[in-house]
């Protein structure tokens, strides 16, 4: 392991000539951003002084992105990803804060593992990493973890992601206990009895391929139950990677009733459909699966009308060996950190969201849900900044990804929108394709 200095020297600098978008402060105009001592010193017009200048003409300058749903695979599956390679992927994608899911080996159900992840991320120093603690010990859905201790050591929310908290009684207690202390419970919503053995969305595509399907009702049924329990427990409930028309309608209805229900959508669920897996493409296999065009449009509508507040990647690295074994046997999941921004920019291009609305869903909204000090360019805030050229086009080459895993459905496709600089805590950690570790 290379020795990383814990404190890295930071020069003051000025980001000049860009278009600044900071949704938390209602900023959407041409301006400069001054960074001093690792913090935002101001947004406005500044004369270049002695400090270094980053030319941001033609680019958008926004808060470093916050991805509240990633799998970093450390500890336990470092051949797929580790905190360092995941951090490199994050900053290459403009992400300066990410929340890692607890399904590591051992899983994040003890304070020691939570501390280990945070310490390792701090040593690397490229990206802020906040662990999501397990809801149940061993993620086996039976006994609650020591949530207060985990939160005390840095867990920012609780989830058994990868697995649902399937037992209704346990879920009720989890929501009741977590909400006693204000914690958010994030659910991977899946009725395992309905989805057992499934590999792609159930429907016309699964029928043509002759593979077992995952019905969208498996997701809807679990969310429906959870919403009732959320009301019962007066809790805070967040739906991870929402993917179906029915689920979006359920969340919309619950929010309309004033329940503390929120949801995130992954870029692949609003950009791609089940047709991607025709031809047995294992790099388009994930859980929840890519759904129908109707579902995709419903997710887009949910993003547009605010039902879905957050865009998060569900970045799920897998080694080629776990994908190159036939569709039914292949692991679920795709990498997403490095494609989140360009893929999501499609929503602006299609006039679904304005640029500030889009950035809010990838910055201040998740930060607010999780009470994180992130996602803004407020004066005095840590200088976590993403600079991107919204018009630059490039072709995605999986072999050039920073992530250790290459499982992406976008290989070879043209992307519009490219991150030019990522600044974390006042330090330029990514610049025109290069990582500054």
């Amino acid at each position: 392991m290379p020795a990383y200095p814990v404190v890295k020297c930071m020069a003051d600098f000025l980001i000049k000539g860009g278009h600044v978008i900071d949704p938390a402060n209602g900023i959407d105009r041409s301006a400069d951003v001054l960074v001093k001592h690792g913090s935002i010193a101001g947004v406005g017009k500044f004369k270049a002084g002695t400090e270094k200048t980053i030319d941001a003409r033609g680019c958008i300058v926004c808060p470093g992105l916050v991805d509240m749903h990633v799998h970093l695979r450390e500890p336990g599956q470092e051949w797929k990803e580790d905190i360092e390679s995941g951090s490199r992927a994050a900053v290459a994608g403009g992400v300066t804060t990410m929340c890692c899911m607890p399904n590591t080996q051992p899983c994040l159900d003890h304070a020691g593992v939570i501390r280990q992840v945070i310490e390792r991320a701090n040593q690397i120093g490229l990206c802020n990493v906040h662990p999501v603690g397990a809801v149940t010990r061993n993620l086996d859905g039976k006994e609650l973890t020591e949530m207060r201790e985990l939160a005390g050591d840095g867990a920012v929310a609780f989830s058994d992601d990868g697995m649902p908290v399937w037992h209704g009684g346990v879920m009720r207690k989890a929501l009741e206990y977590a909400s006693s202390f204000g914690y958010l419970v994030i659910q991977h919503a899946e009725d395992l009895q309905l989805t057992e053995g499934g590999c792609v969305n159930e429907g016309w595509v699964s029928t043509q391929l002759g593979v077992a399907g995952i019905p969208s009702e498996g997701e809807d049924a679990m969310i429906s139950r959870d919403i009732m329990l959320t009301q019962l427990a007066d809790a805070r409930y967040h739906v991870a990677h929402i993917s179906t028309r029915g689920s979006v309608a359920l969340v919309r209805q619950a929010r309309g009733q004033g329940l503390k229900v929120s949801a995130e959508a992954a870029p692949h669920h609003f950009a791609l459909t089940e047709d991607e897996v025709l031809g047995f493409n294992a790099d388009a296999k994930m859980n929840p699966p890519l759904r129908t065009e109707e579902d995709r449009q419903a997710v887009i509508e949910g993003l547009r009308d605010g039902t879905i507040e957050v865009i998060a990647t569900d970045h799920a690295p897998h080694h080629e060996d776990d994908k190159r074994c036939g569709l039914s046997c292949a692991a679920f999941g795709i990498v997403g950190l490095e494609t989140m921004l360009p893929v999501s920019l499609g929503l602006v291009k299609q006039s679904v969201l304005s640029m500030p609305e889009l950035i809010a869903k990838m910055a201040c909204n998740p930060a607010r849900l999780l009470n994180l000090d992130a996602g803004t360019l407020s004066e005095g805030a840590a200088a976590d900044i993403c600079i991107f050229d919204p018009e630059a086009t490039w072709r995605l080459d999986r072999n050039k990804l920073q992530s250790r895993s290459k499982n992406t459905p976008w290989h070879g496709r043209e992307m519009t929108g490219k991150v030019t600089h990522t600044v974390k805590g006042g330090r330029v950690v990514f610049e025109h394709g290069n990582i500054h570790a």
Binding site: S206, T207, L209, G210, V211, F280, C325, G326
Partner: protein, 331 residues
């Protein structure tokens, strides 16, 4: 007509290719009835039958097809464990391809297995002998050849497929074939044995067998795997299944005078089909088996360069031949 490089599914075949294989297959039927069942067509060719699933008729018919055409045939039967399926497929495929077979015939419980191998092995012709619930193209060609012997043409006819459609690669391939060859398919099963949105193939779906029989030109019965299906609640008992969906003599009388009976095998007598029907005058089940050998001869011949050899394999062959002629000069 496009040259055939692999036989992965009915989906990848053009109508002209199907016609070609049926004609060629028809011409091979006589060979197996001769006293000396041997032709030199595939002398010097190597065919590997790689079977990850149990099979009697498909494996045997591929073996006989190759041997009667003088190819060297190797059979490999591997029981794939559920967890190592994929890995063993990848490694076994690469290993066998390194031995330069001309044709690799594969059966696997994994849908997409043949396409997976074909993508991995650019220099070997891959034949799909059944992949999961996806496709079984050689069975469909066998069926079409059999039906042509009775009908001359399948276009406009109605084939009624009865049974576990949801887990059937035969049903799936027939549904794809029907659109290309112009016949109609009726499906008969309870909803528990039908895949979602199967009607998008343009077929008629029935839950009542008796209602589907009038107007059918062929009743095509599928094997029911009782062990698998009762435990997953697809139907309550064999007894009830037979009552609702079994083909007995009474049901056969509801069909027209000329209605044929087929089954891809192996049969469960007394479950999906009564013995009197299976062994009766309308049954074409043994013709299917006989024609299976002929159709597979046609497939092997076509893939081994019965017409013009595919260019990419040509490249490898030319390279090998130039090396050999160089060696000859040295001698």
């Amino acid at each position: 007509m496009t040259q055939l490089n692999h036989l992965l599914g009915i989906r990848q075949l053009e109508k002209a290719q199907i016609e070609y294989l049926l004609n060629l297959g028809g011409s091979f039927v006589g060979l197996s009835r001769r006293n000396v069942k041997k032709a030199p067509t595939l002398r010097g060719k190597t065919v590997i039958n790689l079977f990850f699933e149990n099979s009697t008729r498909t494996r045997t018919s591929f073996e006989l097809a190759g041997k009667r055409l003088s190819a060297d045939v190797v059979n490999i039967s591997t029981a794939a464990s559920a967890t190592s399926k994929g890995e063993s497929l990848f490694d076994t495929g690469q290993t066998l391809a390194a031995m330069n077979p001309d044709v690799l015939v594969i059966r696997h419980s994994l849908a997409g297995a043949a396409e997976f191998l074909a993508a991995m092995l650019p220099d070997t012709a891959v034949v799909n002998a059944g992949d999961g619930a996806h496709e079984h193209p050689t069975q469909i060609l066998t069926d079409l050849l059999t039906l042509r012997q009775s009908w001359t043409d399948v276009a406009g006819k109605t084939i009624t497929i009865v049974g576990d459609i949801a887990h059937s690669r035969v049903a799936n391939s027939h549904l794809i074939s029907a659109a290309k060859m112009g016949y109609k398919v009726r499906l008969v099963a309870p909803k528990t044995l039908l895949p979602m949105q199967v009607e998008r193939y343009g077929c008629e779906v029935f839950h009542d067998f008796d209602a589907a029989i009038p107007g059918s030109d062929c009743l095509y019965m599928l094997r029911i795997q009782a062990e698998r299906l009762t435990s997953s609640c697809c139907f309550p008992s064999i007894r009830e299944y037979h009552t609702a969906y079994g083909l007995n003599m009474h049901r056969l009388t509801l069909a027209g005078e000329n209605c044929l009976v087929m089954h891809p095998g192996p049969m469960n007598r007394g479950v999906e089909i009564a013995s009197e029907v299976a062994d009766g005058a309308k049954s074409r089940i043994l013709d299917q088996v006989e024609n299976g050998v002929a159709v597979r001869m046609a497939i092997l011949t076509s893939l081994c360069g019965g017409g013009t050899a595919p260019a990419r394999r040509d490249g490898k062959r030319k390279q090998a031949e130039s090396v050999m002629s160089a060696q000859a000069r040295l001698l």
